[in-house]
């Protein structure tokens, strides 16, 4: 077992190291040991706080274990249970819905805001930027409690609906079977769009102004400018934003737990709610570990797919642009 983890350790850390010497080949030979000394603390911390817990989680997932008394080896039985449980499939579906609210929407909104902010000169832009970023720095429990109030039967959202005469739409948004899932989703959108916006604004700042001038000389309007220059240039930021938001969407626990606890019924359950319940309420630590491992693999696969998709198109587009310019 102990040899499996180091293999992962290497794939994790060798990329930067491998890339640099590749450029210099033999030249960096003498410096390698010094370089190693520099990364050693980081590797040690990574191993202790990431790899070792990961390995222990995997190890525990092979046992029937209540967290206290002696565990019994069950092999892959926990995984079979995880993959066949209907309530987990439902939870995974909810996670997919959350991908739209937690990842797709924030990226779109972030792009729109960043595009606007980079064009329009607003007095006190920094203040606006900071305000829009606030949701990202608030504690998620604070966010959840605030939104519970907003969504409340007597909360401001329903007050607003009543004020404009849409009385028939008012409801306890988090307590209604049909609206609870999107309602929790919108909270995620609100939390994440500020992060996307700030990432994109930083990306836009690095775009050469001459490109915009050239486009304008060619008669491009604001939309054309955004689609032809801003958007392609932001590809790396978009992929970073997607990695962060997708991870957040799939492992999301605190927002769900503090707003609905998975209810009403099972309408907002997500896999991490079951990880928590199995580990801390049901004392089925092995099962919870297996589910956590499956969740980790799902996140890695989805993020990997997104990265691969964006990277491929990225080089292709860049090559095409280069060709056009030549």
């Amino acid at each position: 077992m102990s040899t499996a983890a180091p293999a992962r350790a290497v794939t994790g850390v060798d990329r930067p190291g491998a890339a640099a010497p590749r450029r210099g080949r033999g030249r960096l030979h003498g410096l390698q040991w010094v370089g190693l000394a520099y990364v050693a603390p980081a590797v040690a911390v990574f191993a202790v706080f990431v790899l070792y817990p990961l390995y222990r989680t995997f190890y525990t997932s092979l046992y029937d274990y209540d967290g206290l008394t002696a565990a019994t080896w069950v092999g892959l039985e926990n995984y079979r249970e995880v993959l066949t449980a209907p309530e987990l499939r439902e939870a995974l579906l909810h996670s997919l819905v959350f991908l739209v609210f937690y990842a797709a929407l924030p990226v779109v909104i972030g792009l729109a805001l960043a595009g606007l902010m980079s064009r329009i000169r607003v007095y006190g832009l920094t203040v606006f930027r900071a305000l829009l970023f606030v949701p990202q720095i608030l504690s998620s429990v604070v966010v959840a409690v605030s939104w519970r109030w907003i969504y409340d039967v007597q909360g401001p959202l329903n007050d607003l609906l009543r004020a404009v005469g849409l009385d028939q739409l008012t409801r306890g948004w988090l307590g209604d079977f049909s609206t609870a899932l999107p309602a929790v989703g919108v909270i995620g959108t609100w939390v994440e769009y500020g992060l996307c916006m700030v990432l994109f604004l930083a990306g836009i700042a690095t775009i050469d102004r001459e490109q915009y001038e050239a486009a304008r000389l060619d008669g491009a309007g604001p939309i054309r400018e955004f689609v032809s220059i801003t958007l392609p240039a932001l590809r790396p930021q978009v992929s970073v934003a997607l990695v962060l938001t997708i991870t957040f969407a799939l492992r999301n626990f605190d927002l769900v737990w503090n707003t609905t606890r998975g209810g009403p019924g099972t309408s907002t359950t997500v896999p991490s709610v079951f990880v928590y319940q199995d580990a801390f309420q049901n004392r089925e630590v092995g099962l919870a570990s297996a589910l956590a491992i499956v969740l980790t693999v799902v996140i890695l696969v989805v993020v990997g797919l997104v990265l691969a998709a964006l990277r491929e198109r990225g080089t292709g587009a860049r090559a095409a642009r280069g060709g056009a310019r030549a």
Partner: protein, 457 residues
């Protein structure tokens, strides 16, 4: 990547390999720190009370003094803080060689962490658990808590009113069923379920406090016809509706059946007429709008706050809600039912070196003086003799408790019966109330979760 590397030559390859061996070192040495299967080091056999630790009479200050200067670490629900802030100074005065170090957590925090704390190398000496399999069952099964039968006879907990109240803290030998067997915990605080009412609104509507569920059902319609919300309910946490369900079931059915089912007795079943009628009533009331709109999105705290502010005519719930209600509110016990039970039991760590000090601490929590302090703090004491409520509501609640206990109506809570029953029953009941699941499906879902849990034990 490592495998590829070893087969290739070239200096750039060396870095990862050295890193790999470094990582191997780190991980293997970490792996060596942990031995064998998870939890292999914990013995699963219960501890035997050693003879010299046996408590045969109430502990005297001299016996405690023999321990020398010691510290008694205590983990408690933060709801206990007002009580302990009165009990601890009195305790330290009587037993001056003991320093009590309390640490308070929210209930959710406490039940999520106390089992691991009790299993750690430095467990608290005295701590609160929670009735049911998730906490107390795990503590008993792993042998982490000391049996308290000797302390019980020394302090009179084997007599009324304690004897019947402490049932849920008794476990059988393999911790597969509770309600009977060895005593592992004691709680000076008890709870009942009841119907809270807003007196001013009853007067307006020309109603008397209901004394039966039939009366309540009629009153609900009257309230609704008058444009009031009949019952204030906040069911976001899913348990409040299950409590109302159990009240209805305990009133309709036999409390003994319910107790047997909760305690995990063989052949017990949830599919009873009492539960079916109760679930049907819940559905009817919800569909009729008696619980108002959006109750699944309102927390219990918000609901009781609204009720205290004059919204809703009735609030059906546990006696702990009474602390939020001021003048103008009353409580009716639910006749021949009312459920409720003792609150989180106090345990003594099986590995504590200060058994006499711990026993003396529990002894002090269970005196009549503490009982009065518990009532003054807005909760209900197990000891009711010689205890008087400061407000009308407190006195009414105390009377309701005595009635409920006399009726043997303290059946406990449905969600004790399996570790995930709260989620299963709570979620499923929400579906019944929303008209999305039939009552029979609900009963089957609950019973099959119960049977699965029994099969695993």
């Amino acid at each position: 990547m490592t495998a590829n590397c070893s087969s290739r030559s070239g200096s750039w390859c060396r870095t990862p390999r050295v890193l790999a061996s470094g990582a191997v070192l780190v991980t293997t040495s970490l792996a060596l720190l942990s031995c064998g299967a998870p939890g292999g080091e914990t013995s699963s056999s219960g501890p035997a009370t050693s003879v010299e630790d046996e408590i045969t009479a109430p502990v005297t200050p001299e016996q405690v003094a023999e321990l020398g200067d010691v510290t008694l670490t205590v983990w408690a629900d933060q709801a206990e803080q007002p009580l302990l802030e009165q009990v601890i100074p009195a305790y330290q005065e009587e037993y001056p060689n003991v320093t009590v170090e309390p640490s308070y957590r929210s209930f959710d925090d406490l039940i999520a962490t106390v089992v691991n704390a009790a299993a750690s190398s430095s467990p608290p000496d005295v701590f609160q658990g929670n009735i049911g399999y998730a906490v107390d069952g795990a503590l008993v099964e792993a042998g982490l808590v000391r049996p308290l039968d000797d302390v019980a006879s020394a302090y009179g907990w084997d007599e009324a009113p304690w004897e019947s109240s402490l049932g849920p803290a008794r476990w059988n030998a393999d911790a597969s069923a509770f309600g009977d067997g060895t005593l592992y915990g004691v709680s000076p605080v008890t709870e009942i379920q009841g119907i809270y009412y807003n007196q001013a609104k009853l007067d307006q509507l020309g109603l008397e406090p209901p004394t039966s569920l039939e009366e309540l059902a009629t009153d609900l319609q009257v309230a609704q016809d008058a444009g009031e919300q009949p019952i204030m309910l906040g069911n976001a946490d899913q348990y409040p509706a299950t409590h109302i369900l159990s009240d209805l079931a305990a009133a309709d059915g036999d409390p003994a059946d319910i107790r047997a089912w909760i305690g995990g007795q063989e052949d017990a079943t949830f599919v009873t007429d009492g539960n079916r009628e109760a679930a049907q009533t819940m559905e009817e009331w919800a569909q009729a709008g008696y619980f108002g709109q959006g109750y699944d999105g309102v927390s219990n705290e918000d609901a009781i706050a609204r009720f205290a502010n004059g919204e809703g005519v009735f609030f059906v719930g546990g006696s702990w809600n009474g602390a939020s209600l001021g003048e103008g509110f009353g409580i009716s016990a639910l006749p021949q039912g009312g459920s409720g039970a003792i609150a989180s039991p106090w345990h003594v760590s099986a590995s504590t070196d200060e058994v006499p000090a711990a026993a003396a601490f529990l002894g002090m929590l269970t005196t009549q003086e503490s009982a009065q302090q518990i009532l003054d703090g807005g909760r209900l004491p197990v000891v009711t003799e010689g205890v008087a409520g400061a407000t009308e509501l407190e006195q009414q609640t105390l009377d309701a408790l005595e009635e409920t206990v006399a009726d043997e109506g303290q059946v406990g809570y449905y969600d004790w019966t399996t570790t995930d029953m709260l989620d299963v029953m709570g979620g499923s009941l929400q579906e019944v109330m929303a008209g999305r699941t039939g009552v029979d499906d609900f009963l089957e879902t609950v019973q099959s979760d119960w049977a699965d849990a029994r099969a695993e034990r």
